[in-house]
């Protein structure tokens, strides 16, 4: 296990390095000048040159990348704009703040949104999928399958506004979406995020219902499951000890990627519910051509996917004994 983790972490670092280099090059190669945007409307050529120097963008792109990489380990000075201590992921000329600080400020909301909705959609999605698989062909299966089809065809920007209108404005049974840190007030944290969790989960639950059902239906028809039943094991025992574990592998894989995607920023959800998480930060940064911030958010997203992939591989071995980490 230890060797597996070391190898995967090393591999992950190489992947992140490649992603950062490609992203860096892509963003800095496009014809947008952060110095012009930062310098303002009364900018003179001398001032522009000074801003370029302060931002470190008066060097060739490979040199800029090297400085950026170095900044992660030893920090970096941006002249009159200020210092960015290690680990420095860059400096946002639009916010006039280090990138990492801004991302860390937004991350708790996004994590709360991602994990909270994940709990909801896993419980309901896997639950409904299991029910549909066990009751295959019966009314429960038909209801679950139809409902998941309807739900998966919904869009958050549609369901979100309707849910806000009914549950907040009309009926008043839910609070306006907001974020209170969990450590500050757990009840306000949950009540402020309940509506986004439910709306986000509604869409994702449908996917997990359909996926769980199809995986379970397939596993339940496997020879080893029939053998287990033939040997006299109870239906419940066979389902949970053999069929369920066998079906969960692909679901765990997809869940790892889905969760990482959510952590990278649920842009539409955050926009619909006016929540200031990583998603809105990414959107605003793109809008403002704030390239250092876009780079930071891209790396966060890539990092989340890489980390969750490692976690998924480890969990895979735990739930399916046929797989060995080597």
């Amino acid at each position: 296990m230890f060797r597996f983790l070391v190898r995967r972490v090393f591999g992950a670092l190489v992947i992140l390095l490649i992603i950062s280099a490609v992203t860096f090059w892509l963003f800095y190669a496009i014809p947008r000048d952060p110095a012009t945007l930062s310098c303002g409307k009364n900018c003179t050529p001398d001032m522009l040159a000074q801003v370029r120097h302060n931002l470190g963008i008066d060097h060739p792109v490979p040199v800029q990348y090297w400085y950026w990489l170095k900044g992660i380990f030893v920090g970096r000075s941006y002249g009159d704009f200020g210092n960015c201590s290690a680990p420095c992921l860059g400096y946002s000329f639009a916010n006039r703040e280090p990138v990492l600080g801004t991302i860390m400020d937004r991350l708790p909301l996004t994590l709360s949104l991602a994990f909270g909705s994940a709990v909801v959609f896993l419980i309901f999605g896997i639950g409904a999928g299991m029910l549909a698989a066990v009751k295959q062909g019966k009314w429960q299966d038909k209801v679950a399958s139809s409902a998941s089809l309807v739900a998966s065809s919904m869009q958050i920007y549609f369901v979100g506004y309707i849910a806000m209108y009914f549950f907040v404005a009309k009926l008043g049974i839910l609070d306006n979406p907001s974020y209170t840190p969990l450590t500050q007030n757990p009840i306000e944290w949950a009540s402020g995020l309940l509506l986004p969790w439910l709306v986000l989960a509604l869409i994702w639950t449908a996917n997990y219902t359909r996926m769980t059902r199809s995986q379970l239906v397939e596993t339940l028809s496997e020879d080893y499951v029939r053998t287990a039943r033939a040997k006299g094991l109870s239906r419940r025992n066979v389902f949970f000890r053999f069929a369920w574990r066998g079906a969960m592998g692909p679901i765990v894989t997809i869940f790892g990627i889905d969760l990482a995607t959510l952590i990278g920023g649920a842009i539409i959800t955050e926009t619909v519910f006016s929540l200031q998480g990583v998603g809105q930060l990414a959107l605003k940064s793109v809008d403002q051509s704030d390239l250092p911030m876009v780079l930071g958010v891209t790396l966060l997203s890539a990092g989340a996917i890489v980390i969750f992939n490692i976690a998924v591989d480890a969990v895979y071995a735990l739930i399916d004994p046929r797989i060995r980490l080597a």
């Binding site: 409307k41 404005a169 306006n176 619909v272």
Partner: protein, 585 residues
């Protein structure tokens, strides 16, 4: 005041010192005005007079029924780009900093919807000598910074000297241009002083290169707010300015939220402009106009105590809100001083008849429909807004008679000029509404015989692009609102040949000797009425040359929660007057 790169999208966050507080301005709480659709042309122009020493003496008059305490929230889409006063040139930034920053002069809002220019930290609105070439202001006693230290004359001098520092790139440039020696001065950070600023006791005297009888109005702009020398962190001051007003910044997360708490060192006796009823302001950002409007309609929880600086009623909800009497009660409607227009590049479209043809063909009415109809804007035929002093009513190109455009007349003009099939490159910003408008404009101009090429321009660099002398565009969207109540702050920056250059705001690059001469002459007229007549005549003189298509004057609608009291307009910032609000018990 021009639009910042970002704020053009929001279109209303433009103006600085407004000239007017209007009869068409109506808060929803005024039941008399609530049934009428406001109109720009129906609004009365009102000059902001200069107040007396008594008007400048605090405390500010009490607001009837107001009580102290509570928290005011805001629901807005964007955080402010700048808080350093020297960098402030956008009305929303001026409005949000009103509770924390103070200047030498400022606008005192009264309970009748009017405003007066008064001394803010100065004892009065200034004393002029040499016909306006020398101005003196005496500072009141007892004015303290948020750390309890006194406002010193060194702070006052430093405020104006640092305007010349290289990092100050966004704020107004009037004072820098007018102070004697300003052309060579590089700021105070190398220890040098500007000799045209003199300090004597508690009096500061400015010596100007030209007579500016309106200099005290200029200093009322938020861009000339005072800066604490000891705590001047240069570029970083933009994130956290030092407070002199009744509130100070308690916390700020850029792009997300900002909180003001009371500045216990502020003495109301020194301030005739600001009331300070709420204990706290919590500004929240990231709300799309539709989201904020929906929350105001729902009026739940803290949203009952909320208002917006930036967000107006969303276009999608305008009809719903303005036709519902109970919702409309919570809307502040205000006619704005800004005129939105499309400058025609005079260096590329040199034929007068071609420019006139563009004007005749313009689809004013279709564009108004796209913007949300008559409740949010009125068609423009002049450069000055009807609510700006000096406005002269004329319509040279049939805006009122043919609001949908007159393609036949335009085509005839093109034929006369021998330019049928004239190519026009139109630049506009990337946004949903702009794309819709660009299509309508293209169709209308092509029906008149033009060949149109529409070019979307990245909105973050739009003004940089159209501000270039050699920009490659024939026609582009822009707009302007007066910085203080006279025509100079419209016509000099935008239409004088002296203000042509990269990054300058004479986007059409109009350089007509007779117009330049008329602007220079009008700027020297001391009599307000005579000056206003001259500015009105200049407006018509320019429109005869057709270097621009005036598009519309805007009508703004801000909604707010049911437990916010006294939501009134601040003519000085063309925004909601934060310092006049209170929380209802």
């Amino acid at each position: 005041m021009s639009f910042s790169r970002r704020n053009f999208l929001i279109a209303t966050g433009v103006a600085a010192a407004s000239t007017t507080v209007l009869s068409a301005c109506s808060s929803g709480s005024d039941s008399k005005g609530s049934s009428k659709v406001p109109s720009v042309s129906g609004a009365k122009t009102m000059n902001i007079p200069v107040g007396t020493k008594a008007d400048s003496t605090g405390p500010a008059p009490e607001v009837t029924g107001a009580v102290k305490g509570g928290t005011v929230y805001s629901l807005d889409q964007f955080d402010m780009d700048h808080l350093d006063p020297a960098q402030i040139y956008v009305s929303t930034e001026g409005a949000i900093t009103r509770p924390i920053l103070r200047g030498l002069t400022g606008y005192k809002v009264d309970d009748k919807g009017g405003a007066t220019l008064v001394g803010d930290v100065a004892t009065d609105a200034g004393t002029m000598k040499d016909g306006g070439k020398t101005w003196s202001f005496t500072i009141k006693d007892g004015i303290k910074w948020e750390d309890g230290t006194d406002l010193s004359m060194d702070d006052v001098r430093h405020t104006f000297e640092r305007l010349f520092a290289p990092f100050v790139t966004e704020g107004p440039r009037y004072v820098q241009q007018w102070l004697v020696g300003g052309d060579k001065y590089k700021g105070p950070y190398d220890g040098k002083k500007l000799s045209s600023i003199e300090i004597s006791g508690k009096t500061i005297t400015f010596t100007l290169t030209e007579a500016r009888t309106d200099f005290n109005y200029t200093l009322g702009m938020p861009g000339y707010g005072l800066v604490n020398k000891k705590n001047d962190t240069k570029e970083k001051y933009d994130k956290r300015p030092y407070a002199l007003g009744p509130y100070k910044i308690d916390s700020r997360s850029i792009g997300k939220s900002m909180t003001y708490v009371r500045n216990e060192h502020w003495d109301p006796a020194t301030d005739s402009i600001r009331n300070a009823y709420p204990d706290k302001y919590i500004f929240q950002f990231g709300f799309q106009p539709v989201a904020s409007t929906d929350r105001y309609i729902a009026d739940k929880g803290n949203d009952q105590y909320a208002m917006s600086i930036f967000n107006e009623v969303a276009a999608e909800r305008t009809a719903q809100v303005l036709t519902n009497a109970s919702l409309k009660k919570r809307v502040l409607t205000q006619v704005d001083t800004v005129t939105y227009y499309w400058p025609i590049n005079m260096t590329r479209i040199k034929d007068l008849k071609v420019r006139q043809a563009i004007n005749w063909a313009w689809p004013h009415q279709q564009l108004q429909t796209i913007r949300g109809g008559a409740s949010t804007s009125e068609l423009a035929s002049t450069i000055l807004s009807p609510v700006t002093p000096g406005y002269k009513d004329f319509d040279l190109y049939g805006v009122t008679t043919k609001p949908g455009g007159d393609p036949a007349k335009a085509k005839a003009l093109l034929k006369e000029a021998g330019k049928v099939g004239q190519k026009l490159v139109i630049a506009y910003q990337q946004s949903d509404n702009a794309v819709k408008q660009a299509v309508a404009i293209k169709n209308a101009l092509e029906a008149a015989g033009f060949q149109v090429v529409n070019q979307q321009v990245d909105k973050t660099t739009f003004y940089t692009q159209i501000g270039k002398i050699d920009n490659g565009y024939d026609l582009f969207a822009a707009g302007w609102s007066p910085d203080w109540p006279n025509g100079y702050s419209v016509f000099f920056p935008c239409w004088s040949g002296k203000n042509i250059g990269d990054g300058r705001s004479n986007y059409a690059q109009l350089n007509d000797p007779s117009v330049n001469k008329a602007i220079d002459a009008a700027a020297k007229i001391a009599d307000v009425e005579e000056a206003n007549k001259a500015w009105g005549a200049i407006d018509k003189q320019i429109m005869e040359l057709a270097p621009v298509v005036p598009d519309y004057h805007s009508i703004r609608n801000w909604m707010y929660g049911s437990k916010i009291g006294n939501v009134v307009y601040d003519a000085g910032n063309t925004c909601v007057a934060l310092c006049k609000l209170y929380v209802k018990k």
